[in-house]
């Protein structure tokens, strides 16, 4: 799989590392090149410095040939914008975005985006454990 990840924070770096280890072709985009230091020495993917809500940066990161795009910055607005560009302008098949705000997670799902709220995921997980 050819995947482009927006953001190089903790979750994004972990995901990039896991996928890279399994032999997938990974590109990570971040505004701040210092964030790439979170990636391990062994990381074999590409890194691109730039704003992933910009079509040109996404093109440079290889979106036209990507099978998946995952938006994982801290900013819901930027994640939602980049994910929609990936889905509707570049036609990427699998697009996932992190939306912290549970109310907006619902809204973006109605727009057909695969949105995940880590708050809801964690709350459901804990509730499940309590009910075990």
């Amino acid at each position: 799989m050819n995947a482009v990840i927006m953001g190089s924070g903790r979750v994004a770096s972990e995901l990039a590392t896991l996928l890279d280890r399994e032999g997938h072709k990974i590109t990570v985009i971040d505004l701040d090149p210092a964030q790439f230091e979170k990636l391990p020495e062994t990381f074999g993917g590409r890194t691109v410095v730039g704003d992933a809500t910009d079509e040109d940066v996404l093109r440079k990161a290889g979106l036209p040939a990507a099978d998946a795009f995952i938006a994982l910055t801290r900013d819901d607005d930027r994640n939602a914008m980049a994910a929609q560009i990936a889905k509707h302008i570049f036609g990427v098949r699998k697009v996932i975005c992190r939306i912290y705000d549970p109310l907006r997670e619902e809204f973006y799902k109605t727009l057909g985006l695969e949105a995940i709220s880590p708050i809801m995921v964690f709350a459901r997980l804990v509730k499940g454990r309590l009910e075990e």
Partner: protein, 224 residues
């Protein structure tokens, strides 16, 4: 009309003032206390603490009964999020976004936000309109009608100089035009109107013919 504006900066302030003076109901959603204070001091009790991209704020503002929603913050991604919520979740009939980065115009359009105001482009065209070397200036976009108002200036190098309109492609490209010439009253042109250096034509043009018109009236060589 009930007008909700997300963002109480300079643009939000000027818009609120205009709408209030025209007798409309205005609410500005703004997180910054200093900006809210300025609005309240000058325009009264018209602000709400919150952010236009937050559903809690939009609910509190009563967006579902708004006639117009304007996103005027300095972040395009927030303006997009706020406008999509207003348009698609709350069904506000008229939604407009301020564009801070001109390159986002197409992105907004493709993601369902048809009406955008490109601040940088407006500034650029306004400056160009004041400087006589630019033969072609976009003055106003009438997006809902697919029309554009442009100014054509007849310069020394222009192909239009010393010709009558029937000898140019202008009548095929512009719906109508008004001639502004120093020393005489503005007049609606017809095919016999003869153009001289220094003349300005204010044309109403379908947006799909803009590029052709620009090519037609530009001086050979310069691409501005």
């Amino acid at each position: 009309m009930y007008v909700i504006i997300a963002g109480g900066g300079e643009v939000g302030y000027c818009l609120s003032k205009e709408f209030i003076e025209a007798g409309h109901e205005v609410l500005v959603i703004e997180p910054d206390a200093r900006l809210r204070e300025r609005l309240e001091d000058e325009l009264g009790d018209i602000t709400l603490v919150g952010e236009g991209h937050r559903i809690e704020s939009l609910d509190e503002a009563g967006v579902s009964r708004a006639d117009v929603f304007i996103a005027a913050t300095d972040a395009d991604e927030s303006n997009l999020a706020a406008c999509q919520l207003a348009r698609l979740k709350y069904r506000v009939p008229r939604v407009v976004a301020k564009l801070n980065n001109p390159r986002n115009r197409n992105v907004f359009r493709k993601l369902g936000i048809e009406y955008t105001v490109d601040v940088a482009a407006l500034m650029l065209e306004n400056v160009k309109a004041q400087i006589p070397v630019f033969p072609f200036v976009r003055l106003l976009s009438l997006d809902s009608d697919g029309l554009e108002v442009v100014q054509i200036r007849v310069t020394e190098e222009s192909r239009l100089a010393d010709r009558s309109l029937s000898e140019t492609a202008v009548p095929f490209l512009a719906e109508t035009a008004c001639l502004v010439r120093a020393g005489s009253a503005p007049q609606i042109v017809d095919e016999s109107t003869r153009l001289a250096v220094g003349d300005r034509l204010m044309c109403v043009v379908p947006q799909d013919k803009l590029d052709k018109l620009r090519a037609e009236v530009g001086s050979s060589g310069s691409q501005v």
